[in-house]
């Protein structure tokens, strides 16, 4: 039980490490057995050196809180070289190294050596050696042989002292081969020798191991924190037994003292981002202070200022491997230590330390909104000042295959080509090429209605699907369509009784019917005049004053017919017999043209009622609307159609601004 108590106490004192560190070096040592004796020393020396060393250690540990280590603690398996002993002392931060040996060769008394080889600071070694020698002479009742520099007497330097940085000395307690040996092996004298060493160490270190127990072991915790926008350090430590107060050390120097609690807040001189080291020493009325056992604690002060204003932008882009991604970049927010990214209002990425973020988990064409929050250790956070940024993720694949078709059609009276296509995957728009030339660009959807066309003309079409990655032509090549003639458009007519000189007449006029090539006049329900061109007709033939006539007009072209939309008109002829023909009333003679023969074998004659007319322009148009022939006639009144194939054609004649269209047949 006593042993257990001793062990526990030894551990407690060992871990309660103090600044001053003593390394006791019992010289020599055996190998695995006592016959394994590398240094060839006597058992008396090997065992006495260890025993006195152990007893010295016990005295120190039982009375003081210095740290004491030993280069060996056993006799067997304990040999170490002299260089290794010095390395132990250096590694263990020894302040004093006491090497314990026994003399041989006949003689009596004790002697101590120090090594000051090329040492620029010899007094500490000399003083320590002299104190050891003095106390061993008195405490061990020894003959005082000498206390000298090693080489001056031994003609060599003692290895253990030479290789140690500590202040050290080597004491030869007494002689193993003289009467001294009796004292060396005496337990009582061994205690006396240990006490002499202990007293010498206390004196040399100028320390007293007071009756007041030294402060006990304790540990320190330092936590950086914010108090509002102020950075500070919160220190707390476990209670040190027997301590009455604590001193705070910051960056190796005393920062505050006589703290009676077990916590301390360092608010002054704390700069955000700066590294500070702290240690605490427990103290009481005794001379010995105990530092926190977990050593120097290093912490970095927090930045507690509210993160500053910053802006953020989002750019949709494609990666090098062709996948869409949205790249966020933002300006630095002062004081921020990290950033959180929110996507579509939800926290998406957190604790980012840079000022960019690439969101790769996006779907092409999908809209995403983003904002960024700057943060640090404070509770306050700052959102990017330019608000939520919205982008549509790019399509990063080249357009897919597609086909097109072109259909000539009418939209009401409008002739057009309906160009439609299958959707090209990934395409964002299309370019339309007509007759080999770019005709419309950046078209969206899957249809294009080409209305700027000429009836009867054939058009070719091809297309290119596009996006920001590339283009692709339609897979089915060029398609074509010929613009069709559309049915005549709606029109209205009026019928007004009038006089043509002294002849009663009905003047029939109408608005132009879109697409109409000619008109048929129906009077009293019967076809009265056919293939009338222009938009008026003066009916003088068989008009009887007082008689009412009904009219309607039928617009015509190859696609069909359409009556005037305002229905049958009626007019009652007036009596014109008394009418005088004044110069003002001189009615311009109406031009009439007839074509014959129809059908014709080749020559188509024109008969015009006014012989003076010259400069007649004519066109021959086939049933598809294509112009076959065009020319002017001066005095001639015939058109040669002999080169044309047998078919039905339209002949269009313009005379004095009036247009006449007649369907003819070439045999």
């Amino acid at each position: 039980m006593k042993n257990i108590f001793k062990i526990v106490m030894a551990v407690l004192f060992t871990v309660s490490m103090q600044s001053q560190i003593i390394v006791i070096d019992p010289g020599h040592g055996y190998g695995a057995t006592t016959s394994d004796n590398p240094d060839g020393r006597t058992a008396t020396e090997i065992e006495t050196a260890l025993e006195v060393g152990l007893r010295t250690r016990t005295l120190i540990q039982n009375s003081c809180t210095w740290t004491v280590q030993m280069t060996r603690t056993t006799n067997l398996n304990s040999w170490v070289s002299v260089t290794q002993r010095g390395q132990m002392a250096n590694n263990w931060n020894a302040d004093r190294l006491l090497s314990i040996h026994c003399n041989a060769g006949g003689g009596t008394g004790t002697e101590t050596f120090y090594c000051t080889q090329d040492d620029t600071n010899t007094p500490p070694d000399v003083a320590f050696a002299q104190k050891i020698q003095t106390d061993m002479v008195s405490g061990g009742s020894w003959n005082n042989r000498r206390c000298v520099e090693d080489n001056s007497f031994l003609a060599y330097h003692l290895g253990v002292l030479r290789y140690s940085a500590a202040t050290g000395c080597l004491n030869e307690i007494g002689f193993v081969d003289s009467a001294d040996a009796t004292k060396l092996t005496s337990s009582t004298w061994r205690d006396a020798f240990a006490l002499s060493y202990f007293n010498a160490l206390k004196s040399d270190l100028n320390l007293t191991c007071a009756t007041t127990p030294a402060p006990g072991i304790f540990t320190l915790t330092v936590t950086p924190e914010c108090n509002g926008t102020t950075s500070r350090m919160a220190l707390s430590w476990t209670t040190s037994a027997n301590a009455t107060a604590y001193d705070i050390y910051r960056n190796g120097t005393l920062w505050d003292s006589n703290i009676t609690t077990t916590s301390y807040t360092n608010t002054n001189g704390v700069v955000a981002g700066t590294n500070y080291t702290y240690s605490v020493k427990a103290k009481n009325t005794g001379a010995t202070q105990t530092a926190n056992s977990n050593g120097i604690v290093s912490v970095i002060a927090l930045n507690c200022a509210v993160p500053g204003a910053f802006t953020m932008s989002v750019t949709p882009e494609c990666s090098g491997t062709g996948t869409p991604r949205n790249k966020l970049t933002w300006t630095t927010s002062a004081n921020a230590t990290a950033y959180n990214v929110y996507r579509n209002g939800v926290l998406y990425a957190s604790s980012l330390t840079g000022t960019t973020y690439t969101n790769t988990a996006v779907t092409s064409g999908t809209t995403y909104s983003y904002y960024v929050v700057a943060k640090n250790t404070t509770a306050s956070q700052t959102t990017n000042s330019n608000g939520t940024q919205t982008v549509v993720a790019l399509n990063c694949a080249v357009p897919g295959s597609f086909t097109i078709s072109a259909t000539a059609e009418c939209s009401g009276t409008t002739s057009r080509v309906n160009l439609s296509w299958t959707a090209s995957a990934n395409a964002t728009s299309y370019d339309v090429y007509r007759n080999g030339n770019l005709y419309a660009s950046d078209v969206t959807g899957t249809q294009f209605l080409n209305t700027f066309i000429t009836v009867g003309a054939t058009y070719t079409y091809s297309m290119i699907a596009k996006n920001n990655i590339g283009t692709l032509a339609n897979s089915n090549g060029t398609v074509s369509a010929t613009a069709v003639v559309c049915a005549p458009g709606s029109f209205t007519a009026t019928a007004t009784a009038t006089c043509s000189g002294t002849t009663s007449a009905i003047n029939l006029t109408w608005t132009a019917s879109a697409n109409a090539i000619s008109y048929d006049i129906y009077r009293n329900g019967n076809l009265y005049a056919s293939d009338v061109t222009g938009t008026s007709f003066l009916n003088t033939y068989l008009i009887t004053a007082g008689t009412t006539y009904t009219y309607y007009v039928k617009a015509k072209n190859a696609a069909g017919t359409l009556n005037n939309s305002n229905g049958t008109l009626s007019a009652t002829a007036t009596n014109c017999s008394g009418a005088k023909i004044s110069e003002e009333n001189n009615v311009k003679e109406t031009i009439t043209i007839s074509f014959y023969p129809n059908p014709t074998d080749g020559i188509l004659n024109l008969e015009i009622n006014i012989s003076e007319i010259q400069n007649i322009h004519y066109m021959i148009i086939d049933m598809n609307g294509r112009m076959i022939k065009e020319a002017n006639l001066d005095t001639q009144r015939s058109i040669n159609l002999s080169q044309l194939p047998s078919a039905t054609y339209f002949v269009r004649v313009v005379v004095n601004g009036q247009e006449f269209v007649k369907q003819i047949v070439k045999k």
Partner: protein, 286 residues
């Protein structure tokens, strides 16, 4: 007289006739007593100290120019290089301070300025090789002065753990360049442990290990011997093989007290002679 002739012959030829695993030995032409060399990673400089491990000196191995970085007590043990060869780290104490109150400093080869580094513990100094950019882990090893166990600590996560779980009074932990193994000393023996602390130590030899090879496969060290346990009468260099757990003596002279070898590149060694304090380089026959 015969022995003197032998020494003269050997020094004159710069080659030793003894059967040894080093050759082409050359003395670095610098005056003074130096020991405990730690060669820079690029092999261009070495740190050395003087008697009693006092003072730090920087020796340019190309020009043999030597400058003193520190003349304070405690400075000659545990110094280290940063991995970029630009900075050295050492500790020193003021006259009235205890060794355990020593403080760590850095010295810049470029600016020749010394800077106090309060954040580095003196006991971790020898395995500290500068702050590594963007590192997620930076391991150092040290002797726990309360328990005399060797421990490791990750300076980034602040986590620490015990390497040497067996009984013993350990000292001089030496971290391998890849940070995966630690050579430690217990009594007169050298052991190698895995850094994670889970394995048992494997004894690789006796002496003091002082330098890892860059490929983490070998250790250099030395073992001093004494005729009576008081002064060093001989010392030889040893090469330890980590895989085979074997060692071989690579020097065998009566003339020199070869100590503190340090790898210079792959197969070159720099060491000191403890009789004269001279510095030598030699080719290692691996």
């Amino acid at each position: 007289m015969k022995r003197r002739l032998l020494i003269l012959f050997a020094l004159a030829s710069n080659h030793f006739i003894f059967s040894q695993k080093i050759e082409k030995m050359n003395r670095v032409d610098v005056d003074g007593f130096y020991t405990n060399p730690i060669v820079s990673p690029d092999g261009k400089f070495t740190l050395v100290t003087g008697h009693h491990f006092k003072g730090v000196y920087l020796l340019n191995l190309k020009t043999n120019e030597i400058i003193q970085i520190s003349d304070k007590d405690g400075s000659g043990y545990g110094y280290s290089w940063d991995n970029n060869n630009e900075m050295v780290y050492f500790k020193q104490k003021e006259a009235k301070e205890y060794f355990s109150d020593s403080k760590v400093y850095s010295y810049s080869l470029n600016t020749r300025t010394t800077t106090f580094m309060p954040e580095i513990d003196i006991n971790m100094l020898s395995s500290y090789h500068g702050k590594e950019k963007n590192a997620t882990s930076q391991i150092v090893v040290y002797t726990n002065m309360n328990t005399l166990k060797i421990e490791a600590k990750d300076l980034i996560s602040k986590k620490s753990w015990v390497i040497t779980s067996e009984e013993g009074q350990y000292y001089n932990a030496l971290l391998s360049p890849d940070g995966k193994k630690v050579a430690v000393h217990n009594g007169s023996d050298i052991y190698v442990y895995d850094i994670n602390g889970n394995g048992k130590g494997q004894k690789i030899g006796t002496g003091i290990a002082t330098s890892w090879s860059a490929d983490n496969q070998h250790l250099l060290g030395f073992l001093d011997s004494s005729e009576d346990g008081h002064n060093v009468t001989n010392s030889e260099l040893y090469l330890f093989d980590i895989k085979s757990l074997t060692s071989k003596k690579v020097s065998n002279t009566e003339v020199l007290l070869e100590m503190f070898p340090s790898f210079m590149g792959k197969d070159k060694v720099l060491f000191t002679d403890d009789k004269t304090g001279a510095i030598y380089t030699a080719q290692l026959k691996m």
